[in-house]
Structures are given as C-alpha cells and as structure tokens.
Subunit: 194 residues, 2 copies
DNA sequence: ACCTGAACACCGTTCAAGT
DNA sequence: ACCTGAACACCGTTCAAGT
C-alpha cells in the first residue's frame, strides 16, 4: 500500500502525446493546452517541459508522429499490390482515407512550420511520401511513366490528394463526393487506365 | 481643440480587420489576439465585441474577406484572356501567386470551419471559385471539355493548386519549384495544350 | 534526472456602468 | 448605439525548490 505517489509513470512524454491525439481529434490543434494535457495525465503543469521545450515542440512531435503513421499506411497500400495502376489507386485511396478520418491531425501536419522543429517535421513529410515516389519509379520500369518524371508525378499526386482532403476538411466539398473526385484525379495520371 | 476623445473613429470593425491582416501576415492566425488588436487600434479590449461576437467571428470575417479578394483576382485573370487554354493557365497562376504571397491568410481560409460562421466562409469559398468553373464551362463551348465535366474539373483545379500551395507553405516543396509543378499540373488538364 | 508549486504576463469572455 | 473598466477563469513560460 504505497501512498499516492507524487512522481509519474515511466513515460510521461508518450502519455502526453497519447492524450494530445485524443484532444486533437475532438477539438483541433487550437484546443491543445499543455496545462490541460498535464492535468489529464495527472502531472503538474510544468512537468512536460522536460520532454517538450514549449507548446510548439509538442505540436511538432504530434505532426511528426502523424507523418510516420501516414507513411506506414502508404507503404502498406503500395505493397499490397504488384502492378503500377493498382498501387497508384491504393496509395491515393489510403491517403484520402487518412485525411478524412484524421482531418485535424492532417491540418496540423500541413500547417506552416515556423519554429526550429520545422526541419524535423519536413523530413518526416518527405519520408512519408517516399512510397508514392516508389509507385512512379515502378511505373517507369513498367514503361508507363517517362524517365525523370517520377518525383514530379509523386509531388503532384500528393498535392492533388492533399488538396481534395483540404477541400473536404474545410467543408467546401461534401465528404460523399471526395471518392468520385479522387477517382477523376487519379484517372488523369499516366497509365492509370480508364 | 477637442480633448482626447474617449470614443473611436467611425468604423472600428474595418480598423480591426485592417490591423488583423497585418498581424496575420507577420505572425499567422495563432498570433491574432482581440486584446492586442484592440490596443493597436486604440480602443478598449472589449470594444470589438460589438462587431465580432468572439475571436472565431473575427477569424471568419478575415477568411471571408480573403475569399472575396481571391475571387476578384481569379475573375480578373480569367477575363484578361479570350481563349480557354490561356484562361486556365492565368487562373491557376493567379491562384498560386495569391497562395504564395498570402500563405498565412490561405491557411486560415482553408482551416476547418467549426463554428456557426462556417457557412458564411464556405459560401465565400464557393463564390470565389466560380471564375474557375466558368473557365471549364467556356472550354465546353470550345469543345475541349466534355459535357457535365465543368464542375468536377473546377474542383480538381482548385484542389490541385491548393495542394501545391499547401506543400510550398508547409515547406515540403521549395517555392522555386512551385511554378514548374503548377505547369505540369495544368498541362494535364484537357485542352491545355503541350 | 524528474517533477512541484508559486509567480508573471498574457489571453477570451462577461457584464454593469458610463456617454 | 457604442465603448469602458473591473472581474473571472484560463493560458504559456520561467524558476527556485524538492526527492
């Protein structure tokens, strides 16, 4: 029977990040408060300072986490299919799904990176998009993508799907139309079939 | 010689919006504070309440203003050219220019609309994009756009350019590459030429 | 090494009161 | 009608102090 211990669990950093993910989903990035997260997690308001230098550092960590998760999803989607056209569609669909179910997270991930931690977030983004570039590199081997076009097509796919996600998230396009819009967009890429 | 008047100028609402535009450019939406704007404009911190019910209402008004300005730019770009292909390129370029010079504003405009004022902002967005739909309606008359594709192509153009703007704003794509990426994107639209 | 608790300067929001 | 000034409950950030 130990008395209520004044010190916290082994991994305060992860506990704060986990709680932040929940609050982010419910109320968006503007609703993330270090003081509230600290209280939720049962620690004094200044405790997270050991793990996050300031509020922006917490947001950066959440964003970097988001890109890591997105990258994993994209990799899984691409690896699930052997052929270029299927990989393209699967990757685009996985991205849109992620954007629709995690709208607040994606908004945070793609927010303007102002602080010192921006470099880390940008690197996370670049890594996450690597599977998409691989799709077009693979397409080049199949002969449907021209030499030297892989990177540009990859960025164009990211931009297009991100744009659709953004339009849905901000309410300009109904979520029900997102799929049709994505099909039309993907269909315009080289070698996508019909 | 009147003494220092306790009351403010004729249009506090516009004065606050003007000052908000400056602060937004310098520090982003997170840096907008009703108290600071009030002080900047020489009024008590509670005075803007007559014109903006709360902070979100101010952000909504700034966003709606932004869409109105974007709509004007797009209309001018489209009207400057008689032919479909030129209109398409001019509109896309005008959008990207706006996004690069007003990155913080665009981020605010396309942020998730949570409150009651969201409907007003969404309507502003829809109105602003109207010139782009007109481009494709015009393309249908020239015979390069298929029947019933105008709206979908318009949303696709918005999504694509918005996505490129977003990637540049968050630092994933260097601003210097944005033009080439936009050219590649626009060139994939029907009837855009080479 | 990790956390607490007080302190400071800021917020948004509300509301009675002034002119 | 429009604005002020005090009040309240929140913030982020800093820092001496505890274990």
């Amino acid at each position: 029977m130990t008395q209520t211990r004044p010190y916290h669990h082994g991994n305060l950093r992860q506990a704060v990040l986990d709680r932040a993910a929940v609050v982010l989903r419910e109320r968006g990035a503007a609703g993330l408060s270090l003081r509230e997260l600290s209280a939720d997690v049962g620690v004094s308001h200044a405790a997270p300072r050991r793990h996050f230098a300031d509020r922006q550092a917490l947001l950066d960590a959440v964003a970097a986490d988001g890109f890591a998760r997105l990258g994993t999803r994209l990799r899984e989607a691409v690896d699930a299919h052997p052929r270029y056209a299927d990989r393209l569609r699967a990757a685009a669909t996985a991205y849109l799904d992620f954007g629709l179910t995690e709208a607040n997270l994606v908004e945070l991930m793609f927010a303007h990176q102002r602080g010192a931690g921006g470099a880390q977030v940008r690197q996370g983004a670049t890594d996450a998009f690597e599977p998409l570039l691989d799709v077009f590199r693979h397409g080049r081997q199949e002969g449907v993508v021209a030499d030297g076009d892989a990177e540009r097509l990859g960025l164009l796919l990211v931009a297009t799907v991100q744009g659709i996600t953004n339009l849905v998230a901000c309410g300009v396009v109904p979520a029900a139309e997102a799929g049709a819009l994505l099909d039309a967009a993907v269909g315009r890429f080289p070698g996508a079939g019909a």
